[in-house]
Amino acid sequence: MADKDGQIHDHITPLEVAEVELYHATSFWTKYIFSQDAKVIAIQYSIVATLIGFVALALSSLIRLQLGFPDLFDFMTPETYYQFVTMHGMIMVVYLLTALFLGGFGNYLIPLMIGARDMVFPYVNMLSFWIYFLAVIVLCISFFVPGGPTGAGWTLYPPQAILSGTPGGTGAGIILMLLSLMLFIIGFTMGGLNYVVTVLQGRTRGMTMMRLPLTIWGIFTATVLALLAFPALFVATVMMLFDRALGTSFFMPSLVEFGDHLSYGGGSPILFQHLFWFFGHPEVYIVALPAFGIVSDLISVNARKNIFGYRMMVWAIVLIGGLSFIVWAHHMYVSGMHPYFGFFFATTTLIIAVPTAIKVYNWVLTLWKADIHLTTPMLFSLGFIVTFVNGGLTGLFLGNVIVDIPLSDTMFVVAHFHMVMGVAPLLVVLGAIYHWYPKMTGRMLNDTLGKFHFWVTFVGAYLIFFPMHYVGLVGVPRRYFELGDAAFIPESVATLNSFISVAAFAVGFAQIVFLYNLIWSIRNGKESGGNPWRATTLEWQTPQTPPGHGNFGDELPIVYRWPYDYSVPGASADFTAQNDPSPRVDAKTTL
C-alpha cells in the first residue's frame, strides 16, 4: 500500500521517538543510591533479590535438615519449621523470582533491547525500587518480633493464618507479612507501569513489535499479567488485615478456640482462596514467561541459528498470558466445588499445555542441526528445557481433578511445583546472569566455576526432586514437621529423605560458589569486550561496555531487521546486528 507521498510502507509505522531529556545525576548519592538510571536500579533490584534469596536458600537447608535428619537441633520446633517453610516459599516466589525477573532483568534489558535511553518515568522507577527495598526490610523485621514471622504457609490461608495456633498468627508476624506484601505490590505496580509504557512508547525507530527480541515479549507480557493479578493479592491482604487488626469477618467463620467463642462469624475462607489463586496462578506465568523469552534468545545465540517459529512464539506467549487468568481454581479442587466447575478448570488447565508445547517444540527445532556452542548459558538453557518438560508433565497429573485429589497435599505437589516454577525458571535466571554479566561489568564470569555450578545445580536438582515425587506417591503429606511412626510410610522414605537432604546441601553449596564467582569476576574476570557472544540484539551494540548513562551515545540506533539473523546464507558474518542497515543477501529469492 502507498500513502499520499507515494512512499511504500507495508509496515506498521513505528513511533516517532523524540530525544528525551535525561536526568543527569551529579553526586554519588544520586548516581548510585537514589539513582534514576534503569541500569543502576536493575542492579540494586538484583542485589537485594539475590541477598534475600540466599536467606530463603538457608531456610530451605534448615527445612531439609529437619526432614532428612529429624530432631538434630533443639531450636527446630514445629513452630519454627512452619515459619521457615512459609518464609522460604514467600521469599522465593515473590521477593526473589518476581523481583529478579521483572525488577532486575526487566529494568536492565527493556531500555537497552528496545533502543531507549531509559525508562519513560525514571523517578517512579526509583521509587519502585525503594518501596521494594522497604518491603524486604519489613519482611526481615518479622523474624525479630516476639512470636517470630508468620508460619501460615505461603498461601496464608485463613482462618488459621490469624489464629493463635499458628506461629505469628496473633503476634506481629502476620501483620508484618501482609504489610510487606502490600508494599511490594505498590512498588511493583510503579515499576510495572514503567516497563509496559516503555515497551509501548519508548521503542526506537524501526523497532516494531514484531522485531522485538522474545526476551522483551516475555517480560512485557509477564508485566501485564502481574499488573492485573497483583491487585487480587492486594485485595486479599487488605481484607485479611481488616480481619486481623480491626475484627471484621471477611474470611473468618464462627470459631471456637480452646473453648472460647471468638468474635468472628460468617466469613468465607473460600473467598480468600479465590482471591489468592486469582493472583497465584498468573504468578506462575509471571515467573515463567520471562524465562520462556530469555531462554529463546539464549538458545538462538548459542545455536547460531534463528529461533524457530518466531511468530508462533509470540502468539504462544500472548495466549499463555490470556489463559493463565482462567485456571486459578485448579488449586482449589479439594476445597469443595461444583463438579462442573472442576471440569471447566481442568479443561482450561490442560489447554494451556498446547501453546506451552508449541514453545518446547520450537526450542527443540531451533537446536535441530544447529551449530551448538555448549557455553555455560547454553547449558543452563538446555537444562531448563528438560526440567520444564519434566515439571510440566506432572502438571498434567495434577490438572485432572480425579488424579489431583489423592495427590493433593502430598510431597508430589511439592516436587511438581519446585521442578516447574522453582528449578526451571531459576536455571534461566542463572543462565541469563552468565549471559549478560559481561554487559553489566565488562568482564566474563569464570567458566570453570560456571560449568561446576551448572552440573552440581542441574544434577543435584534431579537428585532432590525425582525421589520426592516417589515420596509423594507413597502418600507422605507435605507440611509435616515429622513423620513419626505412621504405618503407611515405608522405611525407604526416611532413607530417601536423608538422601534428598544431602543432595540439597550440595546444590546449596554450588550457589555459594556462584556467589563467589560473581564477586571474584568483577575484578578478575577475563575482559569481555562489547559483544562476547556475537549477538544481534541492541544491548550488545552499545558504544561503551558497561553502557554509559543514556545507553547509546549521541545517536539512538535505528533498527533494520529482526533480532535473529544468525548464519544467514551468503551474509558476510554469522550474525547481523539489528541496527545493521545492509540488505538481506538472498532478498530477491525469498521475497
Binding site: I12, P14, V197, T208, M210, S268, R311, T576
Partner: protein, 247 residues
C-alpha cells in the same frame, strides 16, 4: 468472580484490538535491511503520561472489580444485612459529579487556549480565554472533591452513630472498606490536582498545563464511574448471576 472476569474480558478485548494492529502475522525474517517509513506523531512526548495513566486506570479498575466480586460472593450468604445508605451519600454523589464537570470545563478552556496559540490552517483564530477560567475550574474541582471526602466522613459518622459499626455485619465491613478505598483514590488524585493548580498559578506553558488538566479530568471521570458502580453494589441492586443461581 464474574465481575472481575467481565472486566478482564474488556481489557483483553482492547489488548487484542491493539495487537491486531501490530502486524502479528508478518514475517519479520523476510524484512531484513528494509527501511521503515516514519510517521510524525504530534505531541508524542505527551502520549507517554497518557498511556501510563490508562494502564494505571486498568489496574485500579481491576482492583475495584475484585472488591466488587468479593462483595457479590459474600452478599449471597444468609447473614448479609444491606446497609441503609445515609441520605448525605446522594449529596456526595452530586459533589463528585460537579467536580468531574469542573475539570471538564477547565479542560475545554485549556484546549481552546492551546488551539489559539497553535492555530490550525484554515481554522478561525480565536482569542485565548483568560487562564483565570482554568483556575476557577480546577479550584472548583478541588473544593467539591474535598466536600465529597468530608461528606463521606459524615456518612461514616452517621452510620456508626446509628449502630452500623465496622464489625457488626459483613455488609457494614464492605461498606466502610469500599468507600474508604475509593476515598483514598480521590485523596491521591487531589495531590496531583494540587500540583496542577500550582502549575496554573505559575503560568506553566499552555501545552503542558493542558496535558496535566487532561490527565486529572480522565482520572476524575474514571473515579466517578467507579463510584456509580459502587453505589449500585451498595444499594444491593446488583447480583452475581452465577452465585445467585447457586443458592
Amino acid at each position: 468472580m464474574t465481575t472481575v472476569l467481565l472486566f478482564l474480558f474488556l481489557i483483553w478485548s482492547v489488548s487484542i484490538w491493539w495487537l491486531s494492529k501490530q502486524r502479528l502475522a508478518s514475517k519479520p525474517w523476510l524484512e531484513s535491511g528494509r527501511e521503515l517509513t516514519v510517521k510524525r506523531v504530534d505531541g508524542a512526548q505527551f502520549l507517554k503520561p497518557k498511556v501510563g495513566l490508562i494502564v494505571l486506570l486498568a489496574i485500579i479498575g481491576m482492583f475495584f472489580a475484585l472488591l466488587i466480586s468479593a462483595n457479590f460472593m459474600r452478599q449471597e450468604l444468609h447473614d448479609w444485612r444491606q446497609v441503609p445508605l445515609p441520605n448525605i451519600t446522594w449529596l456526595n454523589t452530586e459533589l463528585l459529579i460537579m467536580s468531574s464537570l469542573s475539570l471538564q470545563f477547565a479542560l475545554v478552556i485549556a484546549r481552546r487556549n492551546r488551539d489559539s496559540s497553535f492555530p490550525q490552517a484554515g481554522a478561525e483564530v480565536t482569542k485565548p480565554t483568560s487562564s483565570r477560567y482554568i483556575k476557577i475550574g480546577l479550584g472548583l474541582a478541588c473544593f467539591t472533591s474535598l466536600g465529597f471526602l468530608v461528606g463521606q466522613l459524615m456518612a461514616w459518622a452517621e452510620l456508626s452513630n446509628s449502630g452500623f459499626n465496622l464489625t457488626g455485619n459483613p455488609a457494614n465491613s464492605f461498606f466502610y472498606m469500599l468507600t474508604g478505598i475509593h476515598g483514598l483514590h480521590i485523596l491521591g488524585g487531589l495531590v496531583v490536582l494540587g500540583r496542577t493548580i500550582q502549575g496554573a498559578w505559575v503560568e506553566m506553558p499552555r501545552e503542558q498545563l493542558l496535558q496535566r488538566v487532561n490527565l486529572c479530568a480522565i482520572y476524575w471521570h474514571f473515579l466517578l464511574l467507579i463510584w456509580v458502580a459502587l453505589l449500585i453494589v451498595m444499594l444491593g441492586w446488583a447480583h452475581d448471576p452465577f452465585i445467585s443461581a447457586h443458592h
